[in-house]
Symmetry: C2
Subunit: 518 residues, 2 copies
């Protein structure tokens, strides 16, 4: 058994049985070994950012890490933006990066680079496996780190000769890590704060946005009078009819400040206290109001469900205190197509147990409202702000949950960063419908140009934010990657096309031509 075969066997034995990849020459033995370990599913991506984003999406839905296989430093570079998003969303990824053979590195060949340095910024754990005999043990450790808690990105650098050398043995999976418990004193102090008279909010993120944790949070909030708020861009929030409705903190600091106004205590659960996305001249970066104390109930290394359950008990909350969202859907829209109408139609038609990957940006602003009472579903957000996440995350989610419909709300400008995800969806015949909001603009930047106080923007500046000239034709682009695609220019057309996409299984694209809301 060579190194690559032992590596893949170890991954599979530890539960990591999907690898999103874009390999090159130095990874050919890993690729060849796929046939020796049939349990490992290889999914080819035509661009590395698709592979890393897909691993993130897979991990969010499967609640265990996927692996990624990238080609040297440049391949890792291409995958970096979506690893950034995964890191910020606290999802685990086993990030395998091939390298030149150990003895070849000294020659500074064309593709030589310092992979550890490139990996550092996104990885909690980096290991260059320099010996075939220890490769499998390194892989087992990588899976343990990636699985968490806290879930993290573990980067395993795999020199070609370590991969091809014979004499390797698989390693056993390491035991699951035990979550850090909540200290009694912390629980007591937070109980005291919530039972006191000062305005408080529960601020939930990460795994505290799952349905069972939110039930506990709702009980606590209703019992104590605390406000319940979720972070702006949770990795995965379970919502819809029959679940706890949660208001998310607004992206725009101006609105977020209004939501937080007057608070004296924020109880942070598997998140961090909120800050402004960007800095703006003359505006505060820290969104926590002056005089408000932040209390951390549990962080990424803990167990938010357990912590919230203990807190609910401590404050005397019971089932009777839950707020549950009733099923209520908007009517189908009619007339001219707008971003609002698209979101309304999705609210009217979203199927039970769907997974929504939301990179609608400005156009998606109305989506949360219109879908609040749709049948129970998962909602995945742009965790790290690096655009080009929507399609890859959907790809990975669809691999993780082949029996669920995945819906992507995708802004046009952001789509262009990782559009190659469509090809993998077509190849894998995944059940994903992409809704492209084509407003021919980096609309969010037109807004930001004003928000940062950069005057009104001259003609040259505006040109850098405009996606007309030429207009992107997403039906042609999708067709070019093997998908069936349609274009909607009225609400009626969109309703019909989205209903048809929901009714059938398999990948499709709807290009919604909408005016910019900015």
């Amino acid at each position: 058994m060579n190194g690559a075969q032992a590596l893949i066997r170890t991954l599979v034995d530890a539960g990591v049985d999907v690898c999103f990849m874009n390999p090159g020459t130095s990874e050919m033995h890993f690729v060849a070994a796929l046939d020796d370990v049939p349990e490992m599913r290889g999914v080819l991506a035509l661009f590395e950012g698709v592979a890393t984003g897909a691993a993130d999406g897979y991990s969010r839905i499967a609640d265990k890490p996927a692996s990624v296989l990238l080609h040297l430093g440049p391949g890792l570079g291409n995958g970096l933006a979506n690893l950034h998003n995964a890191r910020k969303g606290h999802t685990g990824v086993v990030n395998i990066v091939g390298d030149h053979a150990t003895y070849h590195k000294q020659y500074d060949a064309q593709l030589e680079s310092d992979i550890e340095t490139v990996a550092r910024n996104v990885s909690s754990w980096i290991r260059t496996s320099n010996e075939t005999s220890s490769l499998a043990a390194d892989a087992a450790e990588a899976v343990a780190v990636a699985s968490g808690p806290p879930a993290q990105i573990a980067t395993l650098i795999l020199p070609a000769d370590v991969s091809w050398t014979e004499g390797a043995e698989p390693a056993e999976a390491l035991p699951a890590r035990t979550p850090e418990p909540v200290a009694d004193a912390v629980l007591a102090r937070i109980t005291e704060v919530l039972q006191g008279d000062e305005p408080a909010a529960l601020f939930v993120g990460g795994r505290a946005c799952r349905a069972d944790a939110l039930v506990q949070a709702s009980r606590i909030a209703n019992t104590t009078g605390a406000k319940l708020l979720a972070e702006t861009f949770p990795a995965r929030i379970e919502r819809g009819a029959g679940r706890v409705p949660v208001e998310r903190l607004a992206y725009l600091a101006e609105f977020a400040s209004m939501q937080l106004d007057g608070l004296k205590h924020m109880i942070v659960v598997d998140s961090k206290s909120p800050v402004s996305f960007f800095a703006y001249p003359g505006k505060a970066s820290d969104l926590v109001p002056e005089g408000c104390t932040v209390h951390t109930l549990v962080g990424q290394a803990g167990d938010p469900l357990e912590a919230l359950t203990a807190l609910a008990e401590a404050v005397g909350a019971t089932e009777a205190n839950e707020t549950i969202q009733p099923e209520v859907r908007p009517d189908l829209p009619s007339g001219p197509l707008t971003a609002d109408a698209v979101c309304q139609a999705i609210g009217a038609l979203l199927p039970e147990d769907a997974i929504v990957s939301d990179e609608g940006n400005t156009s998606g602003l109305f989506a949360a409202g219109h879908t609040a009472g749709a049948p129970a579903h998962d909602w995945m957000c742009l965790t790290g702000g690096a655009i080009g996440q929507g399609l890859p995350v959907a790809l990975g989610a669809a691999v993780a949950a082949p029996d669920r419909k995945v819906v992507v709300l995708q802004a046009d400008g952001a789509a262009m960063f990782t559009l190659q995800a469509w090809w993998s969806m077509a190849r894998e015949e995944l059940d994903v419908v992409t809704v492209i909001f084509n407003n021919a603009s980096y609309a969010v930047l037109n807004m930001e140009l004003n928000r940062v106080g950069a005057a009104e923007g001259g003609a040259k500046a505006k040109e850098m934010l405009d996606l007309h000239r030429p207009e992107l034709d997403f039906v042609a682009l999708a067709t070019g990657m093997g998908l069936s695609a349609t274009r909607a220019t009225t609400a009626e057309e969109f309703n019909e096309q989205f209903a048809a996409a929901v009714a059938k299984k398999g990948p499709s694209v709807i290009e919604a031509i909408v005016p910019s809301i900015m």
Copy 2:
């Protein structure tokens, strides 16, 4: 004048008057300042790898650096692969990366990352400008570093508040750097070697591949009996009728070893001694034959033309010793379309003074031969081996030389990494014809799978190297980005379509359906 305005004014005054960009919120003041400094041309790219590759291509043709504007660490990550190629090709780039405001970084906002770490691997010079008052001087230094010699990548990190703060002044351009002279002892020793009886080769790369330097190299080689060889993937080689024909070292180590067999001396000129692209089990990495001594005449910090001229004089070479390529073109091909036929047609029809961006990979193998006697032209190669360079480099070259026809030889798999370059070509109405070799395969990897000894490759392995299922339709993809595109399936169709593309000005795409040569 704010920081951004002073920065752009400084760049323009130092001769850097093009910026390929994909900006975000933290760069909005830079974008707004484009209207204040009309001499600066902003070229929008829909993906950062397009912007960095375009800067590389621009610099290769303009012989001065372009600037790039990227959004934070993730944007830099997306641009990293083509910065790697630029670094390996020794082309200069002023790489400007926006960052959060200095005071905002402490909050670890969603897009926070350690930009210096991400930049390190590709940058010879990194500076975070933390004061508006010193930003312009930092920019002047960045231009000097990027300009060289040696030409390098200078990364200037630009916090948003440094950009928006008032009170800045432009800085004067720094004087051009003086090339390092060749030491007399080095020149004497190399002269002695070349005049001796032992087999020797002149191994030229970088700026030694320009026409005037090659004339000197040819004189030296012919006078002394030395072999004249160029590096495998020069950034820009000036060739064709009326110029010195030069054999390039083969990509495959097996063939390269045959070219170098028996040499006792290699005289390296603006390159490094050759090594194998990748390591292969049981094969040598260093391609320099045993017992062969490497002598460096001049490196990237020197002046190869001056060094070769001095060496020519030292060995008594004169104009009479030049080898000059006569004009000779192949006939137009006929019959079924193959990669060979495509290259033959290009050899028959390539216009005078064209620029060829060659990322044809396996399909482009025949291109050098068929075009050897075509009218004088430039040929640009994949310098660093990170695929996805062909289209962006062509984009940049076309911006640098608006009166020259740019031809891209583009492999299908590699095209998909940075296909967004087509949109920028359409927007800027650049005179670029892209020839896509669609063989529906990562053909080079099918070859490499065998070369690394990874058995014959099972069904799962082969699937990872195959681009059928679904087949990519590049006509649809090009149309989707606003280009006119045609498909050729016979040699006659290709001849006609390529002739038409050459005859008109403006961007177009020809998808050549060819069998894989592997």
